[in-house]
């Protein structure tokens, strides 16, 4: 894929032309943590037309993992007989008492792995330990978990289990739309997730809600092109489903991965941080895989943990408020001491804002003022507002 500035400039030109023709403010939403980070890393927000806003929806799997689930992981990790394996992003997520990173500092056996197969290999090598894999992520990572569970069963590795917290993107997008709380005119659909699901899953958003959807990859060019298409479709009043990431995403997705998911998991209702309970949005292990289910093996009961007071991560995930509008942002909440989930993960909206957009705490306060003015009908771009980036 090309990274040339010329092609990016061309895509941005199309976006600007469509935005100018629109003559009103439009808001698009991406629902993918990688899009969130990529947009900030390439400074996309700073070159977008003034009347186009890109919001980050519930696209960071770490951010939407309920606090009660983090607590379960920490409790498990602190058991003397358990080795807890996790993707790196989960290390710093705070439950009601600390994080896995801090639990490791207190002596818990926590390992960062890149694949659930690494956790299975560890279980095979250490039959004296209970090895638990913290299975987090959307459709992207769930097939890897499923294949590992099948492999564990095939090899009869009895000391391996998974604590599955997998979630599905599409039910969350529909729940957002059903809630009536969000105000967006189109979706930039995730790249990695769509490799598995295929682009057709987003069709109901176009047909039922009349909103354009574009599946895009993560290169600056892909994202710019995706936004240009969205703006053009809004301008023309012709919402459709487009795919600019055809080199990786097909209409039907990866059927083999879908079949493995169906074999190992079944859908269940689950709590999303910020969204509440979303029907059929989780993947839980089917009954026949109960021996590999850490919840059943260790008789885990998830507690309901209220969100931290003052934290607006839920609204940030819904796209109804920006990080800078939260009073905690950059005052008491920062990546070293995260209060809410969006500040914890490197793909969280708040951390991305903090890392790439915030300048000083004084400016963060100014941004809060500027955005408040903007939201109450003030000018769209107050001096020093968040849209100015740096």
């Amino acid at each position: 894929m090309s990274r040339t500035p010329a092609e990016c400039g061309e895509a941005l030109g199309r976006l600007r032309a469509a935005a100018a023709a629109l003559g009103r403010a439009v808001r698009f939403m991406e629902v993918c943590g990688t899009h969130t980070v990529s947009a900030f890393r390439c400074g996309l927000h700073s070159v977008m037309p003034e009347n186009v806003t890109l919001l980050s929806g519930p696209g960071c799997p770490v951010c939407v993992t309920a606090q009660g689930e983090i607590d379960l992981l920490i409790d498990l990790a602190l058991r003397g007989d358990v080795t807890l394996c996790t993707y790196g992003d989960m290390m710093r997520v705070t439950g009601s008492s600390g994080s896995l990173e801090k639990a490791r500092g207190r002596g818990a056996d926590v390992r960062v792995v890149y694949s659930p197969m690494d956790a299975l290999a560890l279980a095979a090598a250490r039959p004296d330990r209970q090895v638990v894999f913290a299975a987090v992520g959307f459709e992207t990572t769930a097939p890897g978990t499923a294949i590992t569970v099948l492999e564990a069963r095939r090899r009869g590795i009895g000391n391996f289990s998974v604590l599955a917290s997998h979630k599905l993107v599409m039910p969350a997008m529909l729940a957002l739309l059903e809630s009536g709380r969000i105000n967006v005119q189109g979706f930039l659909c995730p790249g990695h997730v769509s490799v598995i699901t295929g682009s057709e899953v987003y069709r109901p958003i176009v047909e039922r809600y009349g909103l354009p959807c574009v599946v895009a990859g993560f290169e600056p060019l892909q994202m710019a092109l995706g936004l240009a298409l969205l703006a053009e479709m809004v301008r023309d009043g012709r919402p459709a489903l487009e795919n600019v990431y055809r080199q990786a995403v097909s209409a039907d997705g990866n059927r083999r991965a879908q079949q493995v998911l169906r074999e190992v998991f079944e859908p269940a209702d689950t709590t999303w941080r910020g969204l509440g309970t979303v029907p059929a949005s989780a993947l839980v292990l089917r009954e026949e895989f109960a021996p590999f289910d850490a919840r059943r093996r260790f008789h885990l009961l998830q507690r309901h943990v209220p969100e931290p007071p003052g934290c607006r991560c839920g609204e940030v995930i819904m796209g109804v408020c920006t990080p800078a509008q939260c009073r905690l942002f950059a005052t008491v909440c920062n990546p070293t001491n995260p209060v809410g989930p969006c500040m914890v993960s490197s793909e969280g909206t708040c951390q991305a804002w903090f890392k790439y957009r915030r300048t000083t705490e004084a400016q963060a306060a100014q941004e809060r003022g500027g955005i408040a003015a903007m939201e109450t009908g003030g000018t769209r771009r107050a001096p020093g507002s968040a849209r100015d980036g740096v």
């Binding site: 500035p5 400074g43 700073s46 993707y87 790196g88 500092g105 987090v136 980036g389």
Partner: protein, 355 residues
């Protein structure tokens, strides 16, 4: 160098960072914001003095008619052998480079070894050969040392510590307070290769990816730059842990000026870019062990580039940014989209993404 605890991998320091719950976490050794807070809140209150508080790569002290530079670094890299080098080459290069970026010619190294019971003597010999070769390349010798052996359960393989003494070039004062608007930032080649090579060797040993560590001693190359433009180099850093992001953000913060990096000008190999994308990390945040970030007066840029490009470690040298007027201490990246974003020092341990 002063008060760094490790290179790219795992390390420990002391306690004290906000919210740490009174225990050391791996991220405290990552060379990022948590390491800074550990130094500020725990180490400096006990040990702080005028020299230490400068927190330069090496301490500069008066020694009779000369100014001496003193530095020390611990090396705990795992695996101890990685594509492009090993812990021996790293231990010499890291210390030599810390002296060189302070404008000092290395005159002697001290080597401390902590070896775990069971370590193969043949492997130890290989590491020492690597130490000797790298030191010879840098024109310095190991003049004193120490060897300890610990039980199998007390450590993992081998840890090295190298201290180095150097003589600072006469009349030279490299310091962030010398930096002025208009100065240019130059790097001697493609970034992020050491950190990626080690991360891949550790996490995905079966993956064949053509990223090799850049670990190398830069003292001779840097000396030639200083000979060529003795008055026009104002500051240098070796962007090790914390990567180019850490070094550039530090430069902005300590000079109080705006530092602007141009994304399209920063050399990154195709293999390193792919590896970083796969791991979900930013090449700017990744450690280098054979790179020097040179801040020079604009008129000297071409001369510096020419000298660097004559050297085997400087073939890919490029001007990658500049210092601007704004007195906000911020480092900014101009992206290939033409956008802008802030560059901050990484937080701590580099954690791969999950999707």
């Amino acid at each position: 160098m002063v008060l760094r605890t490790d290179n790219t991998v795992s390390a420990a320091g002391a306690t004290g960072a906000a919210g740490s719950g009174g225990r050391i976490m791996l991220a405290h050794g990552g060379g990022g914001q948590l390491t800074d807070s550990l130094i500020a809140q725990t180490i400096l209150p006990r040990l702080g003095n005028d020299v230490l508080r400068d927190l330069l790569d090496a301490a500069i002290m008066e020694g009779g008619s000369e100014r001496l530079a003193l530095t020390i670094d611990g090396y705990v890299v795992q695996p101890w052998r990685f594509p492009g080098g090993d812990i021996g080459r790293l231990a010499v290069s890291g210390t030599v480079n810390d002296l060189a970026v302070c404008g000092a010619r290395p005159v002697g190294l001290a080597l401390g070894m902590i070896v775990c019971e069971g370590f193969a003597v043949g492997d130890l010999d290989g590491i020492l050969r690597s130490v000797a070769e790298t030191a010879a390349e840098a024109g310095v010798s190991v003049v004193t040392g120490d060897t300890k052996v610990v039980g199998r359960d007390q450590g993992d393989g081998i840890y090295l510590t190298t201290a180095g003494v150097g003589v600072v070039r006469r009349g030279l004062r490299l310091h962030p307070d010398q930096v002025r608007p208009g100065d240019v930032l130059i790097i001697n080649g493609p970034i992020a290769e050491h950190g990626l090579a080690v991360m891949l060797a550790r996490q995905m040993p079966d993956m064949s990816i053509a990223v090799r560590s850049d670990v190398s001693p830069l003292s001779r190359m840097i000396e030639r730059v200083l000979e060529a433009v003795p008055d026009d180099v104002v500051f240098m850093r070796d962007p090790t842990r914390g990567g180019l992001a850490g070094a550039a953000a530090d430069l902005a913060a300590r000079s109080g000026l705006r530092v602007v990096l141009e994304e399209t000008a920063i050399p990154v190999s195709r293999a390193a870019r792919h590896a970083a994308e796969m791991l979900g990390i930013d090449v700017l945040d990744v450690a280098n062990e054979g790179k020097v970030l040179i801040v020079a007066r604009p008129g000297a840029a071409e001369r510096v580039l020419a000298v660097l490009r004559e050297d085997r470690y400087g073939a890919g040298a490029a001007v990658i940014g500049r210092v601007e007027e704004a007195r906000d201490g911020i480092c900014e990246l101009r992206t290939l989209l033409g956008g802008r974003r802030i560059v901050q020092k990484p937080y701590g341990e580099q954690l791969p993404r999950i999707c």
